[in-house]
């Protein structure tokens, strides 16, 4: 059985896989990083989004063996060691950008890639289009869009901290 060495959230793991083993299966079943969810398993819902070298990808549509040699970041790798949330996580909490929470890890990972690829900032339309690969069946997306806009301001230095969402 092939062995792969995967760098996940800054830690190197060597695991045995089959060639056909998906990245999301290794993350969840071998490394027990169950924050990465499997929603549809058909590349559509985005619940399994992780970062490969900073790019958001659907972990259900990449073989684990293909991810060898890349830096993988999952939802578990975002918060600081002392538990301080990433600004995107904090914004999702502050703006109540979730209800059941199933899509949230993928939403957060996609949102961070989206913000990082738009250093000049994002319009509401760009945020909505940027979430095309992530499906949420609870929220109607409005609070997710608000959270991403607020987090973008923090991540890109236009705001020192999140403005109050209580309005």
């Amino acid at each position: 059985m092939p062995q792969v060495t995967l760098a996940v959230n800054g830690t190197s793991h060597t695991v045995e896989v089959e060639a056909r083993t998906l990245l999301v299966e290794v993350l969840r079943e071998k490394l027990r990083l169950t924050g990465t969810h499997v929603g549809c398993d058909t590349s559509q819902c985005g619940a399994c989004v992780v970062h490969l070298d900073g790019d958001s990808v659907k972990a259900c549509t990449i073989l684990a063996i293909q991810a060898e040699g890349t830096q993988i970041t999952t939802i578990e790798g975002l918060a600081a060691a002392d538990g301080t949330l990433h600004p995107m996580q904090e914004a999702f909490r502050e703006y109540h950008a979730l209800q059941c929470g199933f899509c949230t890890p993928g939403m957060v990972m996609s949102a961070i890639d989206l913000v990082q690829k738009h250093p000049q900032g994002l319009s509401e339309q760009e945020i909505r289009e940027g979430l095309e690969g992530n499906i949420c069946r609870c929220t109607g997306y409005h609070n997710i869009v608000k959270a991403i806009a607020a987090a973008a301001d923090v991540m890109q230095g236009r705001a020192g901290q999140l403005a109050s969402a209580a309005e």
């Binding site: 092939p2 089959e18 060639a19 056909r20 398993d41 058909t42 590349s43 985005g46 989004v49 490969l52 790019d55 958001s56 990808v57 659907k58 549509t61 990449i62 073989l63 063996i65 293909q66 996609s110 890639d113 989206l114 940027g130 095309e132 690969g133």
Partner: protein, 264 residues
């Protein structure tokens, strides 16, 4: 998914040698179509030959009056590359509408062209721009490359290395997406290039094709009105739960008008 042997060659020559030695081996680029197909057990390759480790398949360069894009260049790169945006902005805009962000971060131009999905965007652009498909052993004009649904002129062990697009004076693209799948119901790429006017249609038929009457009309007068007067025949167009052949035929004219407007 059935299991398979995995190879990751470092050169085109090594990849071709593996494919030549094993007729049931298949190359994989971004895998955005192949992996979902394998999950459904629609295909059972004995081996996958991962092309992501081959440096000679990457990169975007200008070559005379053409823009040459490596087969393993991702949709996201085409959409955001400064050379593409300067030379053929319509191609960059088109690439920015393929799939979703996560597909564009993995999927490649070579994979899309070699797969030849009827609804894929790049085949229409390749036809309209009179692209040349460069393989490990020959150069194939776009007109000779796309043979039918999911079928191209590539031999089983032949690899697409790059695609060369003559830089046009102007080009534009428009498509109507299925609201659920987001695949093109019909798309039209128009270009006024060094070899004349090209009009490529995707999504509407079983294989992308050139619309000769629209090309003649735009050659006579480049305007929205020119293509508006051309009616696409529904014969041999796709008809399914998403739309009839007649609906798609009408869409071809509507998308052609929008594509000409997009080209300016």
């Amino acid at each position: 998914m059935y299991d398979f042997t995995y190879h990751k060659p470092a050169s085109v020559a090594d990849a071709v040698a593996i494919l030549a030695a094993d007729p049931d081996a298949k190359p994989i680029s971004g895998g955005m179509t192949l992996l979902p197909a394998l999950k459904h057990r629609l295909n059972r390759p004995s081996a996958l030959v991962d092309l992501s480790g081959i440096a000679e398949l990457r990169g975007i360069r200008q070559d005379g009056g053409a823009l040459v894009i490596g087969a393993m260049v991702k949709h996201y790169e085409v959409a955001t590359d400064s050379q593409v945006m300067a030379a053929i902005p319509a191609l960059a805009r088109m690439a920015s509408t393929i799939g979703d962000t996560q597909v564009r971060n993995r999927g490649t131009i070579g994979g899309s062209l070699a797969n030849n999905d009827p609804a894929a965007d790049y085949p229409a652009a390749a036809l309209a721009l009179r692209a040349t498909l460069i393989t490990d052993r020959r150069r194939i004009s776009a007109d000779d490359f796309f043979l039918g649904m999911f079928t191209t002129a590539l031999e089983p062990d032949e690899l697409l290395v790059a695609v060369s697009f003559p830089v046009p004076q102007k080009a534009g693209y428009a498509k109507l997406r299925n609201p659920a799948s987001r695949y093109a119901m019909a798309g039209v790429f128009v270009a006024q290039g060094p070899q004349g006017v090209g009009v490529g249609v995707n999504g509407a038929g079983p294989c992308a094709f050139r619309q000769a009457e629209m090309e003649a009309a735009l050659s006579a007068a480049w305007s929205v009105e020119s293509v508006a007067a051309v009616k696409q025949s529904p014969d041999e167009l796709n008809s399914d739960i998403h739309g009839s052949a007649e609906y798609r035929a009408n869409l071809v004219t509507v998308m052609a008008k929008r594509a000409v407007a997009d080209a300016g």
